[in-house]
């Protein structure tokens, strides 16, 4: 579905992604794990068009999308839930969701998706008139995910959905990620919480200082001593 081929991304002089290659098949949950500053968010931003790679290609079903504007990427079916949620705090829950469907014109489809999102996150329906800045962290995460789903994406990019949430809430969020996946949405999940991420993923990549250093099925990586030591607080 998505192929990232040998991309290089710079922030000024800093070489943030060094020849990253990865692939996501339709229907999968793929997770990208790595420490702070390893380049996880940079990769997601490059896929969604917020950053332009200096070289390399990104193929979405054989269409070259590297360096294209985010507008086009969203239209092609990739939605990005950014790190830190980034909900529009000055707008209501409902308005945030409407903005998620900004590029769509099919009114009936949008109404259906409102229903779906409210089913997935009943909390959002209760608070739909509330300013999103007044929501709790967990609710904002739900809103950010619901907002991304309103674009009806085929591929959902999730950046640290567990960040700053209580353990119980993290479980809920991960259960919902699995539910979203079961309805046919492919998922690329970036996480520092590697244990949780590996528990729901099919495959995983490990990124270290801008390079992919390991790849495999989630089970394989979960077993690997090296990975356990570095990322799973392992023994």
């Amino acid at each position: 579905m998505l192929k990232v081929n040998d991309i290089n991304v710079y922030y000024g002089n800093i070489h943030a992604l060094k020849g990253v290659t990865l692939e996501i098949h339709p229907g999968e949950i793929v997770t990208l794990i790595g420490a702070n500053g390893a380049g996880k968010s940079t990769l997601l931003k490059t896929i969604s068009g917020l950053l332009k790679p200096k070289s390399g290609e990104i193929l979405l079903e054989d269409e070259h999308v590297a360096g294209k504007v985010p507008q086009l990427i969203v239209k092609r079916g990739i939605s990005h839930v950014p790190e830190g949620r980034r909900v529009f705090a000055n707008m209501s829950v409902e308005e945030n969701l409407e903005l998620g469907a900004y590029l769509r014109k099919d009114k009936n489809g949008i109404r259906e998706d409102f229903e779906k999102v409210y089913q997935l996150f009943p909390r959002l329906q209760e608070r739909r008139k509330q300013l999103s800045g007044t929501l709790s962290g967990g609710e904002q995460q739900m809103l950010a995910m619901g907002r991304a789903l309103m674009a009806r994406p085929r591929l959902l990019l999730l950046d640290e959905p567990s960040m700053g949430l209580a353990p119980l809430l993290v479980k809920t969020i991960f259960r919902i990620i699995e539910e979203i996946n079961q309805t046919g949405t492919t998922i690329l999940l970036v996480e520092q919480n590697a244990n949780m991420a590996l528990s729901i993923a099919n495959r995983a990549y490990v990124i270290e200082t801008g390079k992919i250093v390991a790849a495999g099925t989630a089970a394989e990586l979960g077993e690997s001593d090296q990975i356990r030591k570095a990322y799973l607080g392992g023994h």
């Binding site: 068009g49 507008q71 980034r86 529009f88 705090a89 707008m91 903005l99």
Partner: protein
């Protein structure tokens, strides 16, 4: 004639109400200009010092529409608004867009440059001589309210300002472009991820703000008659004060700030200090910056670490 008790007191009240009416008319003009300042600041964090000159250009376009093209007031108003919208977008695309990622001081100095360019460009094109809006073009009659006569011009200003402000609120809160504007002003990257075209949204903001300034220019001409190429400087600065007074970046703040400033000025004049009229606006600015730097409607946002 039978004597009316408290005749003196009645006269005082009449005068006060009359001054309030004048202040509200003037304040409506400030408010219309201030809206453009505040909207542009809200979305690109730039004080567009050329905004007062868009107001001046609007006044001239309205004047030529009425005198040369022989249009009525309302068509002239619309022509001026449309032309100013286009003008605002041109200014943004040519002067500010290339500086989007530059330091804020660079953009600010550019804005001052654009302002001078428009002022003296206008003088170069048509000369520095003033023009006078023709008399008797307002189709409204004056009305009497509590013994105070409110002129047709005042009614026109109020009517135009109220309609435009309602329209603006509708656009910002109910339409897609308005929601995009609010999204971009809050978080550009997140807006991009929704598929919002940030450049077009910023242009739309300049267009709307400039159209409001154009409308303000025309009603100013109708109310005060005289227009000239440097007429935008003082009202522009005062509208900026009004925007800061209400809380820069906050739309209702600009409306209230404008009205408040107009009324304060009128009352200062009425009290016999008309020479202090212009100074008072800046005293207000200083006081606000000292005691409530975020403005009347602004929240004090503490930088989160």
């Amino acid at each position: 004639m039978f004597p009316i008790p408290f005749r003196k007191g009645v006269a005082f009240m009449e005068q006060l109400i009359q001054q309030l009416v004048n202040g509200i008319s003037l304040g409506s003009i400030y408010a219309l200009i201030a809206l453009g300042y505040t909207m542009v600041y809200g979305i690109v964090k730039l004080i567009n010092f050329a905004h007062g000159d868009v107001f001046m250009v609007g006044a001239f376009i309205g004047f030529y529409s009425i005198t040369v093209m022989d249009l009525g007031i309302f068509p002239a108003l619309l022509v001026s608004m449309a032309a100013c919208a286009l003008f605002g977008v041109l200014i943004e695309r040519i002067a500010y867009k290339p500086l989007r990622n530059a330091t804020r001081i660079a953009a600010l100095i550019t804005a001052i440059g654009v302002s001078l360019f428009i002022e003296y460009g206008t003088i170069y094109i048509r000369g520095a001589q003033p023009e006078a809006y023709p008399d008797g073009i307002v189709p409204l009659k004056s009305i009497d309210l509590f013994g105070v006569s409110i002129s047709g011009q005042s009614l026109l200003i109020l009517g135009v300002a109220i309609v435009l402000m309602i329209l603006l609120q509708y656009i910002v809160h109910k339409t897609k472009i308005g929601k995009a504007m609010r999204a971009v002003s809050h978080d550009q990257d997140a807006a991009r991820l929704m598929g919002i075209n940030v450049d077009n949204t910023i242009s739309a903001t300049f267009a709307i703000g400039s159209a409001l300034a154009g409308a303000a220019g025309v009603v100013f001409g109708i109310y005060y008659t005289k227009i000239e190429p440097l007429m935008g400087i003082i009202p522009g600065l005062k509208a900026f004060v009004a925007a800061v007074l209400g809380g820069i970046g906050i739309i209702p703040g600009a409306m209230v700030g404008g009205l408040l400033l107009g009324v304060i000025e009128a009352l200062v004049s009425a009290a016999g200090f008309s020479l202090w009229r212009d100074g008072v606006a800046f005293v207000v600015l200083i006081v606000i910056l000292i005691f409530r730097p975020a403005g009347l409607f602004g929240k004090n946002v503490r930088e989160k670490v």
